[in-house]
Each structure stands twice: as structure tokens, then as C-alpha cells.
């Protein structure tokens, strides 16, 4: 594997995760539990899609085959997608959306903090930009975790169930392969073991403060690095890619 190939893979992971996360959140548009929350979720979705645009533009440049960020977003199938399994999980109820988002926000908060020092200047610049936005996302989901966990018996039970069901996808966040090995030596990528330590500490602290329990399941689902996804991604892409695939020359 060349550095160029590894970088392309790495950028897809970051960019695809943002894109799928953004798309999932955008599904809340017009369905939020209250107007302010509807607006908040869509604002956050917009940040993710913007971040994905920058990352996939860079990925397309690194790939060097003349593709654009739109080609990458709209013309790849699920096995070519490298987004984290957590990001493609369905929204479920509001507690589930918040729990998923919280687990992901803590991850990106620490990951992007490290990526600011990447030797790839474009990645470092995008990370510096996005980290400011992620800080607001994490504040938002942290507040909701506390409100839901330490709220009514109903909200407590719902967010606990969400955590229990999503927990099996969290080991996928820290999975590393030869792409990481190569890019860590080159100072481009981040050692995810380091991120994992910070993630566990923060997640545990918030879960405890929210009077919730850290799930104890040993079941682990991995595979996003090889494009092995849960069944949900195909349905998501079918919707997201419908227009550009049906009308390939459409402009808007």
C-alpha cells in the first residue's frame, strides 16, 4: 500500500462518517420533538455535510482520477463506503439519536483535536475548523444526555436502552489496520488507542453523571474499515443517491 492509497482510504473514513452522520441527522428535519431541537439537529447536520464536502474534495484530489466530491458521495455503493458503523444506525427515538450522537461527538472531539497536528496540511486545516464546531455539538449532546438520563423514569429508560443497543458498534471506532500503521509513521493519522483512552474517560464520566450505566456487553461489531456495513447503509444510500443517479446531469 502506498501513502497515497492509505491517505485516500483515511480521508474516506473521515469524510464518509461525516456525510452519513449528517444525512442521518437531516432525517430529523421537520420531525424534531420541539422546534428549537429540530433546528439544532439540522444545524449540526449541516456542519457534518460541510465537513464531508471538504474531506471528500481532498480525497478526490489525493485519488487523482479526476473525480469530484459529488462523484464520491453519490456514485459509490455501500461496500465502497468507509463510514463508521455507528453513524449509519437508524435514528430510532430521540434518546437513541442523542446517545448515538454523543458517543460520536466525544470521539470526533478527541480525534480532531489530534488531527489538528496532522502533517497533511489540508487535514490539519479542516480539523482545526471542524473542531470548533464539534465543541458546540458535544456541549449540546452532553447536556441532553444529562437531561434524559437524570430526567423522568421514561427518558432514563429510553436513553439507557439506546446506549445498550449502540454499544456494540463502539469498538469499530477504534479499529486500526495497515492504513493507520503507515499513516501514523508519517505523522498524518492519529493513534486511535490514544483517542480511545480519552473517549472512555469522558463517556464514562458523562454516563455516570447522567445516573446511567456503562453497558457491559461483550458483543462487538466491526468492519467499516473493509466496507462491511450493517444492512441500514444500503437503504440510506438508496435515498441519498436517488436524484443524482436518476438524473446524472441534473444541476441545482
Amino acid at each position: 500500500m502506498t501513502t497515497q492509497q492509505a491517505k485516500y482510504e483515511y480521508l474516506l473514513r473521515l469524510g464518509d462518517s461525516s456525510l452519513i452522520m449528517g444525512h442521518r441527522l437531516s432525517e430529523w428535519c421537520g420531525h424534531g420533538p420541539i422546534l428549537e431541537e429540530d433546528i439544532a439537529l439540522i444545524n449540526i447536520a449541516l456542519d457534518f455535510v460541510g465537513n464531508a464536502t471538504s474531506l471528500l474534495t481532498h480525497a478526490a484530489q489525493v485519488e487523482g482520477k479526476g473525480r469530484t466530491e459529488d462523484d464520491l458521495a453519490y456514485l459509490r455503493n455501500e461496500r465502497d463506503y468507509r463510514n463508521l458503523l455507528l453513524t449509519e444506525q437508524p435514528n430510532g427515538d430521540f434518546a437513541r439519536t442523542i446517545a448515538r450522537q454523543f458517543l460520536y461527538d466525544v470521539y470526533t472531539f478527541f480525534l480532531y483535536e489530534e488531527l489538528k497536528n496532522s502533517k497533511d496540511e489540508t487535514i490539519a486545516a479542516i480539523a482545526a475548523k471542524s473542531h470548533k464546531e464539534i465543541t458546540y455539538h458535544l456541549r449540546h449532546t452532553t447536556e441532553w444526555m444529562l437531561r434524559l438520563g437524570d430526567g423522568t423514569p421514561e427518558s432514563h429508560q429510553r436513553v439507557q436502552t439506546a446506549l445498550n443497543e449502540l454499544w456494540m458498534f463502539t469498538s469499530d471506532l477504534f479499529d486500526m489496520n495497515e492504513v493507520d500503521a503507515l499513516l501514523i509513521t508519517e505523522g498524518v493519522a492519529v493513534d486511535l488507542d490514544k483517542v480511545k483512552e480519552q473517549w472512555e474517560k469522558r463517556v464514562t464520566a458523562v454516563i455516570s453523571e447522567a445516573t446511567l450505566l456503562v453497558p457491559t456487553t461483550n458483543v462487538k461489531q466491526k468492519g467499516s474499515r473493509e466496507g462491511k456495513h450493517s444492512e441500514h447503509l444500503g437503504f440510506l444510500l438508496a435515498e441519498m443517491q436517488y436524484i443524482p443517479r436518476s438524473y446524472p446531469d441534473a444541476k441545482w
Binding site: G22, E36, E37, I39, A40, N43, I44, L46, D47, F48, V49, G50, N51, T53, S54, E121, T122, A124, A125, I126, A128, K129, S130, K132, E133, T135, Y136, L138, R139, H140, T142
Partner: protein
């Protein structure tokens, strides 16, 4: 026919007429979105930076720049979108902050976000309507990516706050 080429200063002056599509009282220069203009007599490169990654106003701003330059006969325009250094509310000029306030949007009141933003309490902002500091945050996310939603507890009016980044 006058063939004198406009200078870089002329171009900057021209582009300073472009306002933010979502906050039409301040210009892209006052906001700190326009970073530089490189003009070699044939190609005009305009360097801009987004406020937020997904800000939908960027596309409109790019189009506005091209239209403005076309008016003075510059058709060969390249827009360079840069992310570094990352945009910060610190770049909003004092004049622009006053304009924001007069427009009904509370301007960012302190510089770059600190760790306190993670768990800390939002501070009491001055209501741009009545000036009271008896205000509270309704939501960290407002009508656009760059704003939060507040309300004044005295005059009861809601207002936007241009949040710090």
C-alpha cells in the same frame, strides 16, 4: 475606450459592496470572509474562508463575487476556498459588531471558545432590543449555523446571538 485595468485596491473596494446573504447589513470584508485578492491583470484569484464548514451562504457569496467582477470586465475569476487559519468571530470588525447590534443580532461578546463552552453556563447577553442584560439562552443553535437563539426576560423579545467561534 478606456482600457486601464482596475488595481487590486479598486477590486477590494468593489468587493466590499458585497454583503452576507443572510445578514445583509455587514459586508464579507467586515465579516472576515474575504481573505485576499490576487490580481495579475488577467486572472483574478479571490481567497475566501467559510464561517462554518457547511455554511450555505458560501455558494451565494462566490456567485456574488463573480457577478461583481464581471461588471468591471473581469471574467477570468478563480475562487480559492481556504480553511486555514480557521475563521474566528475575532475577525469581525468593531464597526460590523455595531451594525449587527443595530440590526437586532447580539454580536459575539468574547473571543475564541474556551473549555467553558463545553459544560459552562452561557453568559447574560445584552438584549439588542431594550439593552437589558436580563436574558436567557433558548437554544445553542439558531436560525443559521453562526447564531444561537436567546430571549429577553424584560421586553420578552427573542433575539439572535452571533455565537463565538
Amino acid at each position: 475606450m478606456n482600457t486601464t485595468l482596475p488595481s487590486k485596491e479598486d477590486i477590494l473596494l468593489l468587493l466590499s459592496e458585497i454583503t452576507d446573504p443572510e445578514i445583509p447589513v455587514i459586508t464579507i470584508i467586515e465579516l472576515g470572509i474575504l481573505r485576499d485578492v490576487i490580481w495579475d491583470g488577467t486572472l483574478c484569484t479571490v481567497v475566501i474562508t467559510p464561517t462554518y464548514s457547511g455554511c450555505p451562504a458560501m455558494k451565494v457569496i462566490e456567485d456574488d463575487i463573480k457577478i461583481k467582477l464581471k461588471e468591471v470586465g473581469i471574467n477570468n475569476v478563480k475562487i480559492d476556498l481556504v480553511y486555514s487559519p480557521a475563521w474566528t468571530t475575532d475577525w469581525i470588525t468593531d464597526t460590523a459588531k455595531e451594525k449587527l447590534s443595530a440590526y437586532g443580532i447580539a454580536p459575539p461578546d468574547h473571543s475564541t471558545i474556551d473549555k467553558g463552552v463545553l459544560m459552562g453556563k452561557p453568559r447574560n447577553l445584552k438584549c439588542p432590543q431594550c439593552g437589558s442584560i436580563h436574558t436567557e439562552m433558548i437554544s445553542q443553535f439558531g436560525s443559521t449555523a453562526c447564531k444561537a437563539l436567546y430571549r429577553c426576560l424584560d421586553c420578552k423579545e427573542p433575539f439572535d446571538y452571533f455565537k463565538c467561534l
